[in-house]
C-alpha cells in the first residue's frame, strides 16, 4: 500500500475525530443544492438582465401604472403618511440609484405586510405598523423595500416584457420563472443585507433588523411579513454575520417613543434613544419597558 493511502486514511480519521469532538450542527436538507442552483440561475440571468436593462424613466412609468392599480386603500392620516416618509429619508442618502424618486404610503389591510413597486413606490400596511416597537424596526422594513428597488429586483420582473419583443420576452420570463423559487429567496437575502446597510448608514439601531425576524414571527398570526418573504434561520444568521462583519461603531438611534408619537427622529430626536452598538442589554430593557408599561 502506498504512503498516500495512509496519509488519506489518517486525514479522514483525524477529520472524524475532530468533527466528533466538536459541535455538530448539520441536518439533512437540500438547501445547499438549492443555493447552488440559485447562484447558477442568478449569474446566468445577470447577462440578459444587463443587456435588457430599462432606463430609470421607463421604470418610473411602469411603476406608476402598477401603483395606480394597487387594491389597498390609502390610510387617510397625513401625519402618519408624513411620519413614514420622514423615517425613510435618512435611508435614501446612501442608495445607488439617485434618479429614482421614492414615495412611501401606509395602506389599510388586515395583513402585516410591506411591498415595493418599480419606480420607488413603497407600501406598508397599518397592520404591520401595529406590531412594530421602534422607529429602527420601521426603518429596517422600509430599507428592505428600498433595497428591492435599488437592486432592481422590482423592475426585473417586468424588464424582459418591456425591453424585448413579446415572444422573446415570454420565453425569457418562462425561463426566469423556472428558477424563481430559489431566485426570489436570494433576492430577499440581498434586500436584507442592503436594507441593514442602509439602516446602519442612517444611524438606526442595527439589530432592529434581526430582532424583527424573531418577534414578528410569533406575534403576528396571519399574513406574516416574513412568510411572504421566505425566511429561515440561515437568513437571520447571514444578516447577523454581515452586521457583525461591518463592525459598526458610534451611536445608533432606537426611536421607541418616536414611533409611539409618530414623530420622526428629524423632528424629535430624543437623547435617551441613542445607544452604543454594544448596548444590547440597555436596548432590550428599553424595548421591554415599552412592551410592559
Amino acid at each position: 500500500m502506498t504512503r498516500g493511502f495512509y496519509i488519506v486514511v489518517a486525514a479522514l480519521v483525524a477529520c472524524l475525530v475532530a468533527t466528533a469532538l466538536g459541535t455538530p450542527a448539520a441536518s439533512l436538507s437540500r438547501s445547499a443544492a438549492s443555493e447552488i442552483w440559485s447562484d447558477v440561475l442568478r449569474d446566468a440571468d445577470q447577462v440578459p438582465l444587463h443587456l435588457t436593462r430599462l432606463s430609470d424613466d421607463q421604470e418610473v412609468a411602469i411603476g406608476q401604472q402598477l401603483a395606480d392599480a394597487v387594491p389597498f386603500p390609502i390610510v387617510q392620516n397625513p401625519s402618519l403618511q408624513n411620519y413614514v416618509g420622514d423615517v425613510a429619508q435618512p435611508l435614501l442618502t446612501n442608495i445607488e440609484r439617485k434618479n429614482i424618486r421614492y414615495e412611501f404610503r401606509v395602506v389599510q389591510s388586515t395583513e402585516s405586510n410591506a411591498f415595493a413597486l418599480p419606480g420607488g413606490h413603497v407600501y406598508i400596511t397599518d397592520e404591520l405598523l401595529k406590531h412594530l416597537r421602534s422607529e429602527a424596526e420601521l426603518a429596517f422594513i422600509l430599507g428592505h423595500e428600498i433595497a428591492h428597488v435599488d437592486l432592481r429586483h422590482c423592475v426585473e420582473r417586468y424588464q424582459y416584457r418591456a425591453a424585448l419583443a413579446r415572444r422573446i420576452a415570454t420565453l425569457a420570463e418562462i425561463a426566469q420563472a423556472i428558477g424563481s423559487v430559489a431566485f426570489t429567496q436570494e433576492q430577499e437575502v440581498d434586500a436584507d443585507l442592503r436594507g441593514a446597510s442602509l439602516l446602519i448608514d442612517a444611524r438606526y439601531w442595527p439589530h432592529a433588523a434581526a430582532d424583527s425576524f424573531d418577534r414578528l414571527r410569533y406575534q403576528v398570526s396571519s399574513g406574516y411579513y416574513f412568510n411572504t418573504h421566505p425566511s429561515n434561520g440561515d437568513r437571520q444568521l447571514r444578516l447577523n454575520r454581515a452586521i457583525h462583519a461591518r463592525d459598526p461603531t458610534g451611536r445608533f438611534y432606537l426611536g421607541v417613543r418616536n414611533l409611539q408619537l409618530q414623530k420622526a427622529r428629524a423632528h424629535l430626536a430624543d437623547p435617551n434613544e441613542w445607544f452604543d452598538y454594544a448596548d444590547d442589554a440597555k436596548v432590550s430593557a428599553r424595548l421591554n419597558q415599552t412592551t410592559n408599561p
Binding site: L12, C15, T19, T23, P24, A26, A33, D39, D190, L193
Partner: protein, 937 residues
C-alpha cells in the same frame, strides 16, 4: 351380528398376515429367483400347449370323420389356468424327433409344422357381429336381469295372499324355471349365450330368494339372522361352484351383478348389507381361483354402486354400513394383493382405483355413515389401511415404470394414505399441533422414501413438507401459543426441531435442496416474531453468513443463493427500521455481511449468478456500513466516514482481492463516491458545526477531496478525471459556503492559480482545463454577483477590492502560463494565457462600466485601451494588443454614440479635433518607430 363381525375380522387378519409374512422381493437375487420360477412356469405351459396340439393333430389323423370342434367359444374364455395332467413329453428341442417316431400314424402326411403366431392380430368386429352381440348377448343379460327383478318384486309385493313359505317356494320355483331350461339349452352352441343368461338369472333369483327368506318381512321363513346368513353362504357357494364349473367370466360376473341388483332394489336393512358381504367374498374367491380380473372389477363397481343405490343416504344402520364398506374394501384389496403375489404384478391395474374410489366416495359423501364427530378417527383408520396397503404393495409388487402402474401400485396407496393422514390431523388439531402433525407425517414420508429408495415418495414428501411449512406460516402459530418457554414462545422449539429435521434431510441424507429452502422459509418467517431485543436483520445476516460458510464447504451448495436472498432482506429490514432499532442492531448485520464479503474476497466465480451473489454480499455490507455510520456518528462526520470506507474498500480490493473481485469492488467505490457527494451536499455544506476555529465544512470536505485526488491517481481507477472534477467541485462549493456568496470569488481565483500552477508545472492538461473553467466562473460571478450584490455591507470597498484582487489573479494566471505554451499544437494550451488576459480585461471593463459613468467612462475605457496596448507591446502578445485596441474602440464608439450627443457645439469641435490629432499622432508614431515596433512584436 357378533359372529359376522368375527368373520370379517378373521378374514382381515388372514389377509394381513398373508401379506405381512410375504418375503420382501427387494433383494435382487430374490427377484432373479422369482423370474426364474416364472420362466419355468411359462416353459411348462408352452410344452403343455404344444403337447395338446400334437394330441389334436393325432386325433385328426386318427378320426378324420369327426366334426370339427365348434369354435363358438366366447372371446372372453380365458386360457386354462390349471393344465390338464398328461404325461410329460420327451424333450422337444432341438429337433422334432418325436415326429419321426410316429410314421405309422402319419404315413402320407406331410410333416406338420405347428404355426403359432406370436401376436395374432385382433380382427375388427363386423357390423353383423355387433348386431349379434347386441341381440344375442346383451339383450339376454338384460332380459335375465329384468326377470330376476320381477321375481324380487313378486316376492315382496305381489301375491299378498301367499304366506312367506309360499313366496319363497314361488321364488325358488321361478329360479328353477330359469335354471333348468338354461342348463338344458346351454349345451347347444346356438343358444349358449341366452341360455347362460337364463342360468345367471336363475342363480341370482335363487340368491335373492334365499336373502328374502330372512331379509324380507313378507317372505321371512327364517327368523335367525345367523341361519339366514348361512343360507346365503350356501347359495353363494353353489353359485361359486357353478361358476367354477362353467369357467365363464361373463356368466360369473352376470350372476353376481344380478344378485347384487336384487339386493339393491329392496328397502335397505342391515341384513341386506350383511348379505352383500358373502356375495362379495364368493365373487372374489371365484375371480381369484380363475384369475378373472374383470369379475373383480365388475364386482367392485357393483358392490359400491349397489351400496350407493340402496343404502345411501338413508342407511338404516351406520355400523353395518361401515362394516360392509370396510369389508368390501379389504376384500377387494386382499384380492388385488393376493393375485399379484405369485408374479409380482397386479392382475388388473383398475381394481385399486375402483376399489379406493368406491370406498372413499361411499364413506366420505355428505350424510355418509361416518359421523362428523368420528371423522378424524375414521380418516386415521383409512390412512392406516392405505398405509398397510402401500406397505403390502411395496413388498409384493415389483416396480413398474408404466404410468398406470405408478398410480395403482405403492405410489397411489401411499399418496392416499398421506392425504388422509393430513386430513385427519387437520380435522382433529389446530394451530401448533396441527402444523406439527403435518410436519411429522411429511417427514416420515420423506424418511420412508429415503430408506426404501422410493423416488416418488421423496418427491411427494417435498409437497407435504411445503404444506406443513406454509401451515406454520399461515396459521400463525404464535397466536395459539402465547405461553413462553425460557423466555421464548413455545412454538420456537418445535419450529427449531422442524428446521433441524429439514437440514438433517438435506445435509445428512442428501435430500434435494428444496428442504433447505423450506428450512429457510420457516426460519425467516418465525424470526419476525422474535422478542423485541433481537432484531431480525441481525439474525438474518448471521444466518446468511453461516449459509455462505456451509456453501463454501460444499455442505450446502444452495447456501450461496440463500445468503444472497437473505442479504436483500437484511438490507430492506435495516433500511426500513434502522432508525428505530438500537445501534447494535445495525452493527451486527454490518459485521456479518462484512464477514460474507471477506469470504467472497478470494473466491473464484465462473458464472453470472456467482457474480451476483458476490456483489450482493459486498453491496449489502457497504450499504449497512454506511447506514451504521449514519446512525453512530455525528451528522457532520457521516460523509467523511463514507469516504474512509471507500478508501479502505479500494485498498482492500487492491491488496487482497482476486482480480475480478477487485474490479467489482472498484466500481462499488465509484458508487460510493456518489453517496459521498450527496451526503456532502445534503449535510456538510450547510452545516454550522465547528471544532475550535475550524468549521466542520472545511474539516470534512477537505479530507474527502484529498481522498478523491488520491483515488484519481490510482492505476486501476478507470475514470480518474471524474474524481478530479468532483474533488474540484467540492473545493469550489465548500469555499462558496464557507466564505459566502461574494467572497467566494477571491478563493476561487486562488484555486484557479493553484490549478494552473499544478497544470503547468506537472504538465497536467486536465488541471489547466480546470483552471480555465474556474477562471470563467470567477469572471461570471464577479460580474453577476460581486459587482451587484454586496454582502459585506461595504459596497464600494468590496466591489473595488474584490475586483482588483480578481483582476490581479487573472494577471498572475496570464504570467504563470509559460511562454512556450503559445507554440504548442494543442489549441487549449495556445489560448490558455490569452484566455486569462481576455477575462481580466473584460472584468476591468465591467468594473469601469459599473463604477464610472458618463464621459468619465469614455476616458476610462480609453485609458484602459491605451494601457492594455502598451502592455501588449511590452509582453509581445498580439492578443493583449488586440484587447487594448478593442477597449479603445469601445471608448470611441461610446463617445460618438452617447457622449457627443450631450456636448455643446464648441466642445464637439474640440473633441473631434483632439481625436483627429490623436489618431494622426499615433499614425505618425507608428511610421516613425515602425522598425522598433516590429522588433517589439
Amino acid at each position: 351380528m357378533e359372529v359376522f363381525l368375527f368373520l370379517v375380522v378373521a378374514i382381515l387378519a388372514y389377509f394381513v398376515f398373508r401379506v405381512a409374512l410375504r418375503p420382501i422381493p427387494r433383494d435382487p437375487s430374490t427377484d432373479l429367483q422369482l423370474l426364474d420360477q416364472q420362466l419355468h412356469d411359462l416353459r411348462q405351459q408352452v410344452s403343455t400347449l404344444t403337447r395338446r396340439i400334437y394330441e389334436l393333430e393325432l386325433r385328426a389323423v386318427a378320426a378324420p370323420t369327426l366334426e370339427p370342434v365348434a369354435v363358438a367359444i366366447e372371446a372372453e374364455v380365458q386360457p386354462i389356468a390349471d393344465p390338464v395332467e398328461v404325461p410329460p413329453l420327451p424333450d422337444l428341442s432341438p429337433t422334432p424327433e418325436p415326429l419321426a417316431e410316429l410314421p405309422p400314424l402319419l404315413p402320407d402326411a406331410e410333416p406338420v409344422v405347428p404355426d403359432f403366431p406370436l401376436n395374432p392380430p385382433t380382427p375388427m368386429r363386423a357390423p353383423e357381429d355387433w348386431e349379434a352381440l347386441l341381440g344375442g348377448n346383451i339383450l339376454a343379460k338384460i332380459g335375465a336381469l329384468m326377470a330376476v327383478i320381477g321375481i324380487a318384486l313378486l316376492l315382496g309385493w305381489w301375491v299378498p295372499q301367499l304366506g312367506p313359505s309360499g313366496k319363497v317356494a314361488v321364488g325358488f320355483a321361478l329360479s328353477l324355471a330359469m335354471l333348468v331350461p338354461g342348463l338344458l339349452i346351454e349345451r347347444r352352441d346356438t343358444y349358449r349365450i341366452p341360455a347362460r343368461a337364463l342360468v345367471a338369472g336363475g342363480w341370482a333369483a335363487a340368491y335373492f330368494t334365499t336373502f328374502a327368506m330372512h331379509g324380507l318381512d313378507g317372505a321371512r321363513v327364517i327368523d335367525s339372522p345367523f341361519v339366514g346368513l348361512l343360507a346365503l353362504y350356501a347359495i353363494a357357494v353353489a353359485m361359486t361352484l357353478f361358476s367354477l364349473r362353467y369357467q365363464s367370466q361373463i356368466l360369473t360376473a352376470s350372476t353376481f351383478v344380478i344378485a347384487f341388483a336384487t339386493l339393491a332394489i329392496y328397502p335397505s336393512s342391515a341384513f341386506s348389507l350383511y348379505a352383500s358381504i358373502p356375495l362379495t367374498g364368493f365373487l372374489l374367491f371365484v375371480a381369484m381361483r380363475r384369475s378373472w380380473p374383470w369379475v373383480a372389477v365388475v364386482g367392485a363397481v357393483t358392490a359400491y354402486a349397489s351400496y350407493l343405490w340402496q343404502w345411501y343416504p338413508t342407511h338404516p344402520d351406520p355400523i353395518a354400513a361401515l362394516v360392509a364398506l370396510f369389508a368390501y374394501f379389504v376384500a377387494f384389496e386382499a384380492f388385488d394383493l393376493l393375485t399379484a403375489r405369485p408374479t409380482g404384478r397386479l392382475l388388473t391395474p383398475l381394481l385399486f382405483p375402483v376399489n379406493s374410489a368406491g370406498f372413499l366416495i361411499a364413506t366420505l359423501l355428505p350424510e355418509s355413515p361416518v359421523s362428523p364427530h368420528d371423522l378424524a378417527s375414521f380418516l386415521t383408520v383409512v390412512a392406516a389401511l392405505f398405509l398397510l396397503s402401500a406397505v403390502a404393495r411395496a413388498r409384493l409388487i415389483a416396480p413398474d415404470p408404466a404410468p398406470l402402474a405408478q398410480i395403482t401400485g405403492f405410489n397411489g396407496a401411499v399418496t392416499v394414505s398421506c392425504c388422509f393422514a393430513f386430513w385427519a390431523i387437520g380435522e382433529h388439531y389446530t394451530g401448533l399441533a396441527q402444523s406439527t402433525g403435518f410436519f411429522v407425517v411429511a417427514e416420515l414420508a420423506f424418511l420412508a422414501g429415503h430408506y426404501f429408495s422410493r423416488r416418488y415418495l421423496r418427491f411427494f414428501s417435498a409437497a407435504l413438507l411445503t404444506i406443513a411449512a406454509f401451515s406454520f406460516f399461515l396459521f400463525r402459530v404464535e397466536r395459539f401459543a402465547p405461553k413462553t418457554f425460557l423466555g421464548l414462545q413455545n412454538w420456537l422449539p418445535i419450529v427449531a426441531i422442524c428446521i433441524a429435521a429439514l437440514y438433517f434431510n438435506r445435509i445428512r441424507l442428501k435430500s434435494w435442496p428444496y428442504h433447505s429452502w423450506l428450512a429457510l422459509l420457516l426460519l425467516t418467517t418465525f424470526s419476525q416474531t422474535l422478542p423485541s431485543d433481537l432484531r431480525q436483520a441481525s439474525f438474518w445476516s448471521g444466518y446468511a453468513t453461516l449459509l455462505l460458510w456451509l456453501a463454501f464447504r460444499e455442505t450446502l451448495p444452495e447456501g450461496r443463493y440463500q445468503a444472497a436472498l437473505l442479504n436483500f432482506g437484511v438490507l430492506t429490514g435495516v433500511l426500513i427500521n434502522a432508525w428505530e432499532a438500537p445501534l447494535w442492531a445495525s452493527a451486527l448485520p454490518t459485521l456479518f455481511t462484512g464477514v460474507q464479503a471477506f469470504l467472497w474476497l478470494r473466491r473464484p466465480v465462473t458464472n453470472l449468478l456467482g457474480h451476483i451473489q458476490r456483489v450482493t454480499a459486498s453491496t449489502a455490507f457497504l450499504i449497512l456500513a454506511m447506514t451504521f455510520a449514519d446512525r453512530a456518528l455525528p451528522s457532520d462526520a457521516v460523509a467523511p466516514a463514507w469516504a474512509l470506507l471507500a478508501v479502505l474498500w479500494f485498498g482492500l480490493a487492491q491488496e487482497f482481492a482476486a482480480p475480478d473481485v477487485a474490479a467489482i469492488m472498484t466500481w462499488q467505490v465509484h458508487a460510493l463516491q456518489l453517496c459521498i457527494l450527496s451526503g456532502v451536499f445534503s449535510r456538510n455544506f450547510t452545516s454550522g458545526g465547528t471544532t475550535g476555529p475550524l468549521s466542520h465544512r472545511l474539516l470534512s470536505v477537505g479530507p474527502i477531496a484529498a481522498a478523491q485526488y488520491w483515488l484519481a491517481r490510482q492505476p486501476n481507477i478507470v475514470i480518474p478525471s471524474t474524481y478530479r472534477w468532483s474533488a474540484l467541485l467540492l473545493i469550489l462549493f465548500v469555499l462558496r459556503f464557507e466564505l459566502g456568496r461574494t467572497l467566494t470569488v477571491s478563493a476561487w481565483a486562488t484555486v484557479m492559480l493553484v490549478l494552473l500552477l499544478l497544470g503547468t508545472r506537472l504538465d497536467l492538461r486536465l488541471y489547466r482545463w480546470q483552471a480555465a473553467l474556474v477562471g470563467l466562473a470567477v469572471f461570471a460571478r464577479c460580474w453577476a454577483t460581486n459587482f451587484v450584490v454586496l454582502e459585506q455591507l461595504s459596497p464600494f470597498a468590496q466591489r473595488l477590492s474584490l475586483g482588483v484582487t480578481t483582476i490581479a489573479a487573472f494577471l498572475a494566471a496570464y504570467f504563470l502560463v509559460p511562454r512556450s505554451y503559445r507554440e504548442r499544437e494543442d489549441a487549449t494550451d495556445r489560448w490558455l494565457a490569452p484566455w486569462f488576459a481576455i477575462l481580466g480585461s473584460l472584468l476591468i471593463t465591467v468594473l469601469l462600466v459599473i463604477e464610472v459613468s458618463g464621459p468619465r467612462l469614455t476616458v476610462a475605457l480609453g485609458l484602459q485601451g491605451a494601457l492594455t496596448l502598451i502592455a501588449g507591446f511590452l509582453v509581445r502578445d498580439r492578443v493583449i494588443r488586440i484587447l487594448g485596441l478593442a477597449c479603445s474602440l469601445a471608448g470611441m464608439i461610446k463617445l460618438f454614440t452617447f457622449d457627443i450627443q450631450k456636448f455643446d457645439t464648441p466642445t464637439k469641435i474640440v473633441s473631434f479635433l483632439g481625436l483627429g490629432v490623436l489618431f494622426i499622432g499615433a499614425s505618425f508614431l507608428y511610421a516613425r518607430f515602425k522598425t522598433k515596433l516590429k522588433e517589439l512584436l
